[in-house]
Assembly symmetry: C2
Amino acid sequence: MRLLVARCEVRYSGRLTAILPEAVRLLILKADGSVLIHDDAGGYKPLNWMTGPTFMEELGDVLVVRKAKAEDTLEIRLVEVLSDVVQDMGESAALQKDGVERDLQELLAASPSALGEALTLVKREWATEVGPVDLMCKDDDGEWVAVEIKRVGTIEAVEQLTRYLGFIREDPAKAGCRGVLAAQSIKPQAVALAESREIRCAEVDLAVLRGEREPDLTLFG
Amino acid sequence: MRLLVARCEVRYSGRLTAILPEAVRLLILKADGSVLIHDDAGGYKPLNWMTGPTFMEELGDVLVVRKAKAEDTLEIRLVEVLSDVVQDMGESAALQKDGVERDLQELLAASPSALGEALTLVKREWATEVGPVDLMCKDDDGEWVAVEIKRVGTIEAVEQLTRYLGFIREDPAKAGCRGVLAAQSIKPQAVALAESREIRCAEVDLAVLRGEREPDLTLFG
DNA sequence: GCCTAGGTCCCGTGT
DNA sequence: ACACGGGGCCTAGGC
């Protein structure tokens, strides 16, 4: 990894055109070819960047970075280099995440009745014309139930499930299909919209699903 | 800006749980309190991070970073510090962009007939109760046409235009208002949903709109 | 290779 | 303060 602190001006041209006026920035040149230009403020995002793999040319005081198979170009005009160091970082190791939507979906697929009613899983990722339903289940009466799973339940999730239900119910055999929105937390506005569309909301807890904790006494809805 | 290169292990706990095993990383501590942990590969995104403002404590060899009003916590255990420098970056300047959705809207407002039918602009940003329609036009027959403009046309854009049309058509004078989705590219699922709602799709090209290139022989739909 | 959906999305804007 | 929408979104997974 090469770290440059330099007074520079940057121009990006590709999906859009952008100019970054001259100032002191941090330039990060990674082993995989990615280039990031960071400011001392502005948080998480680089001001300009190019993801690897890239081709790099040094034409005098101008660094030109190009993508392999696109017209994207990053031009860095170096006016004054304040620091320029190369660091060998050795081998790395990947980030391990837990608690994303995928984990929730796996746990609910294994025990769909955690949604607060007796359900049997029929299929995960059931395809419709407008996208896949997370879980398709059947209830005690043999009626279909479509489950949409989110980490956070928003109005948008209700809209999504509504779209799915519209297409699913076109099949006469599934005309009575119900909808359930499952999430670790559900926004009040989403609950209101779901109720108006007769979609049931179920807040689920990762620790409970894993049997690490007892379920709350009160369930949603 | 403080730049640390160090062998370290990082744990994030908050919206999810994540562990980053011990290895050499670049730590960026910005003036606004943001903390970024970057790898020598993996491109644009930091492996772990916290956006400012934050509170930071140094407990022995452990750096604990917390958000002001959330339970988010970042724990950085420093095993070996290879480099630790502070850089004064002085004043900065903002990025200037060109070619985003707003630019497309300006060009289409100037020549709405680029949408593939004879149209006359009545108003940009026509207000409805649920938000502004990008362009309100009239066609040859004097019928109203509401145009939603995106850089990329998705299902979400179709939903948005559908909401607008619902409110617009409540006015008897505009009960026959048609909808057009205009974008530089439109997703197949969005086309399917648009067709089911009798919304026309029009793919437009920035270069053509600017008169830099001839229009294609074939138009959408 | 393209396309779709998720993200600790981030980040501005408006209410 | 919180919801909404755009982003050069980025990035992983499916086909």
